[in-house]
């Protein structure tokens, strides 16, 4: 079996375990390439169906074409969408683009807190997230089934053992489990799979007339394009095979301090 098929079969197995073990399950969908691949894998796992709602945490600072793309795919693939927004903070205007919060604080309220609000509201006990180990170092330490306490905090110093595809599926009331079916994929694997399966991705990933493309998608004030001439999926694959620039180099919030991202993730960030 080739390695992409190995990755795919493992992810399908994890998705099916999650669906069997959690009565209130949801999948986070950031509209990016990873969670769109995850969505595709869900359709593989459930024979064309997506039997749980998708949660999009909308900061309102997303690149507008992302929302268009989201709504289009929801219709075409018959998806149930739940949108989470931190209305209170958005109303107060204490955000980074307004100059009233740091980048990290802004991520904390508009993404992390908004996520907590939507999880609490819908009583989700299992949340599928498309993070990968190769994205950044704290994610490299993740488990496939990763418990979060009632404050959504990640106890990274005391994670459950995880072996032989036996996952932590028993948890205390009020806590939830993050499920990471793409954990073992690399950025390159994701693109190779998009190519193999012909998965539609948002055009922002492809180089525009100015020879720039997004490698990682987030909010427009904190996400930069990279110089690139890759206009097709095979061209992106070729580019990634030769690059030595990290994937999230365009994500400004990661670079604020040495452990900025670790702190965010301990507090419940994706």
């Amino acid at each position: 079996m080739d390695y992409l098929s190995k990755l795919e079969n493992q992810s399908i197995y994890i998705l099916r375990e999650a669906f069997n073990k959690f009565e209130n399950l949801a999948m986070l969908w950031s509209i990016g390439k990873d969670s769109t691949v995850l969505l595709w894998l869900a359709r593989k796992a459930f024979f064309g169906h997506v039997p749980f709602p998708l949660v999009h945490v909308d900061t309102t600072y997303k690149i507008p074409s992302m929302i268009e793309y989201r709504d289009k795919l929801c219709k075409e693939w018959n998806l149930k969408l739940v949108v989470g927004k931190n209305e209170e903070v958005l109303k107060s205007g204490v955000t980074f683009p307004n100059g009233k919060a740091t980048r990290v604080e802004c991520c904390g309220t508009l993404k992390k807190d908004a996520l907590k609000q939507v999880l609490d509201k819908h009583h989700f006990t299992g949340v599928i997230v498309g993070v990968r180990r190769d994205e950044e170092p704290t994610r490299a330490k993740e488990r496939y089934f990763s418990p979060r306490d009632k404050n959504m905090e990640w106890n990274v110093e005391d994670q459950p053992p995880e072996l032989w595809d036996q996952f932590k599926t028993d948890y205390e009331k009020g806590t939830h489990i993050r499920i990471h079916p793409l954990l073992h994929w690399t950025e390159l694997n994701v693109w190779e799979y998009i190519h193999r399966e012909n998965i539609p991705v948002i055009p922002l990933y492809f180089a525009n007339g100015k020879n720039e493309r997004y490698r990682s998608l987030g909010c427009y004030p904190c996400t930069g394009a990279i110089p690139s001439t890759a206009r097709t999926v095979p061209e992106i694959i070729a580019e990634l095979r030769n690059t030595k620039i990290p994937e999230r180099s365009g994500r400004a919030q990661d670079q604020e301090s040495e452990d900025a991202f670790e702190k965010l993730r301990r507090d419940g960030y994706m």
């Binding site: 796992a45 950044e136 704290t138 399966e197 990290p246």
Partner: protein, 629 residues
């Protein structure tokens, strides 16, 4: 453009704390040109800012607490490529305290690099990790004797450590692939041969890596297809799972453990995949069957000719990671593929210190396996488990143990003289006859003047099932009929007291009631069942247990708001407050019958009217017969 490597190999780096695992990984990445741009500079700057010397280890030790203490706490993964293949490098902590993280890392690997400090020599966790790698089933192990720079690159010192550690590996039946002298800090024998060790004629680490083999899932072994779930998203009933060994194709006759029911594969199901006539080990697929039999998660499908063992006692070798000891007379959950079963220690043969092989002696009466200890012991399970020994089929020969909410240990099933079912499988399925007494059903029916049957009442809590059932039973009794109620609450006190309210437990609850109702009907009774029985598929299953003309579905139908207003047991209030989970109509679904034999709108009909309607229906049904009720 670089040629894409066609394969991927997962390597774990293990060894005693401070023997240089994380440093080695940092160096390996640097020397193979695999570091992301700016990473080295970023790490050097960070070290400068903190006023500490630069450490290669900081590449992997991502957590602040790890950088503070200069140790690896949790396992991490990182990728790099050689022209031959892509590697996933799993760094595992060497500190005994974090053994569960070491095991998490190692259990996912196909090969291991075990580091030993040339200066410190073989230490406690060098030996323990070697032992555990073997227990975890990792057969490809290269031993790297690190920090050769501290020993003046001495060939003699290398030979000494190799001899000592080789002896240890031999004592635990491990044959290492190779021993290599290296210095991670100085970069000797990592990516290129070291000029400082001209005496070394063996491979560099990079060559040794490329010499490892990628493990392929076993396709020539007997089929093991554990059922992960049963889906009914559309008309088809798909049994989903991953083929763990062997292969499966349409037309195959499969036996499902532990019920031993047999059916034939109709189709292999995949979504948006090239059509293929079979599915092999490693593939997550679905199958449909030609004859519908009862199948649920936890069953294992196998070819009839080569089924797994199926027993409640088996010998194991386990490791324990729990904060509380693994103790006798306590109940644990055993998870083996998708099977979950309650288990306890039957007998402990011996508890071992994995770093010395010394048997740990306990005080009399203290029977347990402590944290970080390994043991050879026999487990006893509450229900039969389908398994193979780890030497036969890996995936069905290993398991984890759950203490409370936490995975706390794991193990493999050891060889023993287990009875094979190859010959007795037919004995088991064919030789259990339905025993017929001398009294026939016709004679019973003549004596009773009516037929035995099942009236299956289904509906929401509070819809009136129990009240109607009670009145109906009384009416029938007064008319001289043999009638008996199987009531939901009563059954849950006894027959089904081990079941909860999850989807799976509800299914099992209904299955048992169906079987008991059948016995009552056989005995000539009008058996009235009063259960919510919310899932259509479960009721359909109960229906299949009885002939069509002896099973009547009665839909006791009242809107949920009416039921909630009645709330005779105060359950809706508790469900709304969240005190009760999975409550039908509130937090769990109810699937109404598509075509009930009788429908009672109890929001419109009184109890006597409802009872009369059923009596009418029974009269009509049996009107042509001499035997009526």
């Amino acid at each position: 453009m670089q040629i894409a490597p066609a394969e991927q190999l997962k390597i774990v780096i293990v060894g005693h704390v401070d023997h240089g695992k994380s440093t080695f990984v940092g160096r390996l990445f640097n020397d193979t040109g695999s570091l992301p741009e700016g990473k080295l500079e970023q790490l050097r700057k960070a070290a400068e800012r903190r006023g500490v010397p630069f450490e290669w280890a900081n590449l992997m030790d991502a957590l602040q607490s790890e950088r503070d203490q200069n140790i690896t706490i949790d396992t991490a993964q990182i990728w790099f490529r050689t022209p031959k293949r892509q590697y996933v490098i799993i760094d595992a902590p060497g500190h005994k305290e974090f053994l569960k993280n070491m095991i998490t890392g190692a259990a996912n690997a196909e090969a291991a690099l075990l580091l030993i400090d040339a200066h410190e020599g073989v230490q406690e966790n060098s030996r323990r990790h070697g032992y555990l790698l073997n227990l975890l089933g990792i057969r490809q192990i290269a031993v790297l004797v690190n920090k050769m720079d501290l020993e003046n690159y001495s060939e003699a010192r290398f030979g000494q450590i190799e001899a000592e550690y080789r002896q240890w590996l031999t004592s635990i039946n491990v044959v290492p692939t190779v021993f290599i002298p290296i210095s991670a800090r100085e970069g000797d024998n990592i990516a290129s041969a070291s000029a400082r060790m001209p005496w070394w004629k063996g491979p560099t680490v990079l060559t040794a890596l490329d010499d490892f083999k990628v493990s392929e899932v076993p396709q020539d072994q007997p089929l093991r297809f554990p059922i992960q779930d049963v889906y009914r998203f559309d008309e088809r009933r798909i049994l989903a799972g991953r083929v763990e060994s062997g292969s499966v194709k349409p037309g195959d006759r499969l036996v499902f453990s532990p019920t031993n029911k047999v059916s034939t594969v109709k189709t292999i199901e995949r979504w948006n995949a090239p059509a293929a006539t079979s599915a092999a080990a490693g593939e997550s697929i679905g199958i449909t069957l030609t004859e519908q039999i009862f199948v649920e998660r936890g069953m294992i499908a196998a070819q009839e000719s080569a089924p797994p063992y199926e027993l409640t006692r088996f010998k194991t070798r386990i490791f324990w990671l729990g904060k509380r000891p693994f103790a006798k007379n306590k109940k644990y959950k055993l998870k083996l593929t998708t099977q979950e079963v309650e288990c306890e220690i039957d007998t402990i043969e011996k508890v071992i210190d994995a770093s010395s092989l010394a048997t740990i002696s306990r005080k009399p009466g203290e029977i347990f396996v402590g944290r970080h200890e390994v043991a050879e012991l026999t487990l006893r399970t509450r229900r039969p488990v389908a398994f193979d020994t780890a030497n036969e089929i890996v995936a069905t020969g290993r398991f984890v143990l759950v203490d409370g909410l936490d995975v706390s240990g794991g193990g493999i099933i050891a060889e023993d003289n287990y009875p094979r079912r190859t010959h007795d499988i037919h004995t088991k399925s064919d030789n259990i006859y339905w025993s017929h007494g001398k009294v026939t059903i016709t004679q019973r029916e003549l004596r009773n003047s009516h037929r035995g049957c099942v009236l299956w009442l289904t509906g929401l809590s509070g819809s009136g099932k129990s009240t109607i059932a009670t009145e109906l039973e009384r009416e029938l009794f007064n008319l001289g009929r043999q009638a008996y109620i199987l009531d939901g609450d009563n059954i849950r006190h006894g027959l089904c007291s081990d079941l909860g309210f999850s989807h799976r437990d509800r299914t099992e609850n209904i299955r048992r009631i169906g079987e008991v109702a059948k016995l009552f009907a056989d005995a000539g009774f009008v058996c009235i069942t009063a259960f919510i029985s919310p899932y259509r598929a479960d009721r359909d299953l109960a229906r299949t247990i009885l002939p069509r003309d002896r099973f009547f579905e009665v839909y006791v139908n009242a809107p949920v708001n009416v039921c909630e207003k009645r709330d005779p047991k105060g359950l809706y209030a508790k469900a709304r407050s969240g005190e009760i989970k999975d409550f039908t109509g509130v937090s769990a679904p109810y699937e109404p019958p598509a075509d009930p034999d009788v429908e009672l709108r109890t929001d419109k009909l009184s109890i006597p009217e409802s009872v009369a309607k059923i009596m009418d229906y029974l009269g009509l049904q049996t009107g042509e017969s001499q035997i009526s009720i």
